[in-house]
């Protein structure tokens, strides 16, 4: 299967978007080459503004631009966009509910060799705690591009999470449709539901195949919008399969697993078992090896699912 990093999809989608939206402005904080806003900068140099290594100011500048009615994307690594600039995102973007799109790349442990200082496993938790903030975590190239184009038409603050690692393109661009807040059931199943987000969706699909070979019929759901979350698809899964496994390249505190558990505990309490980074910092190493080490792979999803079912 062809692979591409969703950060590349992001950069390409911005170029596609500029053709439709003459009011588009893109900001970066000295990481354009890495976040791939550099792709946009090359195509539209007059609409790209480097803010230098100053993420706090960049988020404020984005808020000011948005207040004048233009469409603005502000980009940095997830660590700095959601972490360093958190309070500016909260007070200057979230509180006035300004139409700023935050394009955060290099999310999660798959940053790899840079190590724990750059491996942001807390961004979803931080961003979803801000009232009115939409949080999107696309799974592959097709979904990432569709999400960028769709969110450009949506008015309101949005955090979009992209990755550094090339991941399989499993969605079919000719049929794929992105709807904000709508989960996608990739495979039906009756024994258990695996709900995944971002680059873990491809792993969940692989796990589903392996489980099927072992006689376990797992439902696979892709949640690309973590907030507002698709309550309906989660409650239905809880009712029909009785057990949920969540999988995310993020801390098990405050991310997809927590969001799913919030819905399930309120509406249909069933066990929710969370696969994610277990309240620890990462460390340096090749991304693929790290994902395996931290249990963010199909093999571990299979093992956890079987254990949950007592098999």
């Amino acid at each position: 299967m062809e692979k591409k990093a969703t950060r590349d999809s992001y950069g390409e989608a911005l170029v596609m978007l500029a053709e439709k939206r003459p009011d588009l402005v893109v900001l970066d904080a000295d990481l354009a080459a890495a976040t791939k806003t550099g792709t946009f900068k090359k195509a539209y140099p007059d609409k790209f503004f480097d803010c230098g290594i100053a993420e706090a100011n960049m988020m404020g500048v984005a808020a000011g631009i948005a207040s004048t009615g233009k469409l603005v994307f502000a980009s940095s690594f997830a660590m700095f966009a959601s972490g360093r600039a958190f309070e500016i995102v909260r007070n200057s973007i979230g509180y006035p509910h300004l139409n700023v799109k935050i394009g955060a790349t290099h999310a999660g442990i798959s940053v790899g060799e840079d190590g724990a200082s750059h491996q942001c496993n807390e961004d979803i938790a931080l961003m979803r705690a801000i009232p009115g903030m939409t949080v999107i975590n696309p799974a592959d190239d097709v979904e990432a591009k569709a999400a960028v184009l769709a969110m450009a038409d949506y008015v309101g603050p949005t955090y979009m999470r992209f990755g550094r690692l090339a991941v399989p393109i499993f969605n079919d661009p000719s049929t794929y449709k992105f709807e904000v807040g709508k989960g996608i059931q990739i495979k039906d199943g009756k024994d258990v539901t695996i709900i995944a987000t971002g680059l873990m969706v491809a792993e969940a699909i692989e796990a589903g195949k392996a489980l099927a070979e072992q006689g376990i019929d797992a439902r696979i759901i892709n949640i690309h919008t973590i907030k507002p979350i698709d309550r309906e698809i989660i409650v239905k899964a809880a009712k029909e399969t009785g057990k949920i496994i969540t999988v995310e390249e993020h801390s098990i505190i405050g991310g997809l697993g927590s969001a799913v558990a919030d819905v399930v505990t309120e509406e249909c309490p069933v066990p929710v078992i969370k696969i994610g980074v277990k309240d620890v910092f990462g460390h340096s190493g090749p991304a693929v090896d790290l994902l395996k080490e931290f249990g963010l792979c199909a093999e571990n999803i299979v093992a956890v699912t079987k254990a949950a079912l007592g098999k």
Partner: protein, 281 residues
């Protein structure tokens, strides 16, 4: 500035000060000291200089003002009321449940508020964004950002200062209200930001020092000069008196964030009313 205009502005500023006192007294909380120090500047900008229309507060080509020192919202509210954005009666709802006059400015709630502020150091960045946006689409509007002197201890202010100079935002004018006091005491004792002018100069700004922020002639001269500056943002550093206009509040750090009680309120209103009567003679 002609004498009549000056008198009109002095009258308006006195009414604004009364509005500040009405608001914080009614709220039993708020920040009178810094509101009174910046009252003349906000009065000058909204009543005379800025292109704004109370009937069309979201007018796209309006001049914008970001009160980066958002805790002095009572002064901004009183000026907006004086300019006709909403009824002055509403000043008494400051900080109360259901009020459009939040403890710190909240855009979208109240007409005339161009940006939500309150967390210090952030407003100046948003003003940079507005100014950059104006440059991108060749708009003629001006952007004003009003900062406290304690506020510039925030690192983000200097990120924004670098940004504004780098992108040659000559449609941006920042005001540093140098009343010399912050919550914990004198700014030069808490964490000195001095020399303020040399710092902005080093960051590439055109710097104008105003030695009396309560003299409309001097304000006029400074903002006129700012208007002529090209390819650089301008900062006006104005020496002001915290608590200006209410005798017992002047230069008293204790009046940074405290409301007057009923007795103190009566004294303040009496002083300001007397001053107003004098002006209106």
């Amino acid at each position: 500035m002609d004498a009549l205009l000056k008198k009109q502005l002095e009258i308006a500023a006195t009414k604004v000060r009364m509005g500040v006192i009405e608001g914080v007294h009614s709220a039993k909380a708020g920040h009178p000291g810094g509101s009174l120090s910046v009252a003349d500047t906000l009065t000058y900008l909204y009543m005379h200089r800025m292109n704004v229309d109370p009937k069309n507060p979201d007018m796209p080509d309006r001049d914008r003002l970001v009160l980066s020192k958002g805790h002095t919202a009572p002064a901004l509210y009183a000026v907006l009321a004086e300019r006709g954005f909403f009824p002055a009666e509403e000043l008494k709802t400051l900080r109360k449940i259901g009020s459009r006059l939040q403890g710190h400015p909240s855009m979208g709630k109240l007409p005339g508020i161009d940006m939500s502020t309150g967390s210090l150091g952030q407003g100046i960045s948003t003003a940079c964004g507005m100014a950059l946006s104006g440059k991108i689409s060749n708009e003629i509007y001006k952007v004003y950002a009003v900062l406290g002197d304690g506020e510039i201890e925030e690192g983000q202010v200097w990120e924004a200062a670098m940004f504004a100079a780098h992108y040659k935002l000559d449609n941006l004018v920042a005001v540093v209200d140098n009343n010399g006091l912050q919550i914990d005491g004198r700014i030069d004792e808490v964490m000195s930001p001095y020399p303020i002018d040399e710092k902005f100069k080093a960051f590439g700004w055109h710097v104008i020092n105003v030695d009396d922020a309560h003299d409309f002639d001097k304000l006029e001269k400074a903002f006129n000069e700012a208007e002529t500056v090209l390819n650089q943002p301008t900062v006006i550093i104005q020496k002001s008196v915290k608590g200006k206009g209410v005798s017992y509040m002047e230069n008293q750090v204790g009046w940074h964030g405290k409301a007057p009680n009923d007795e103190e309120y009566a004294v303040a209103i009496k002083e300001l009313s007397d001053h107003l009567a004098e002006l209106e003679k």
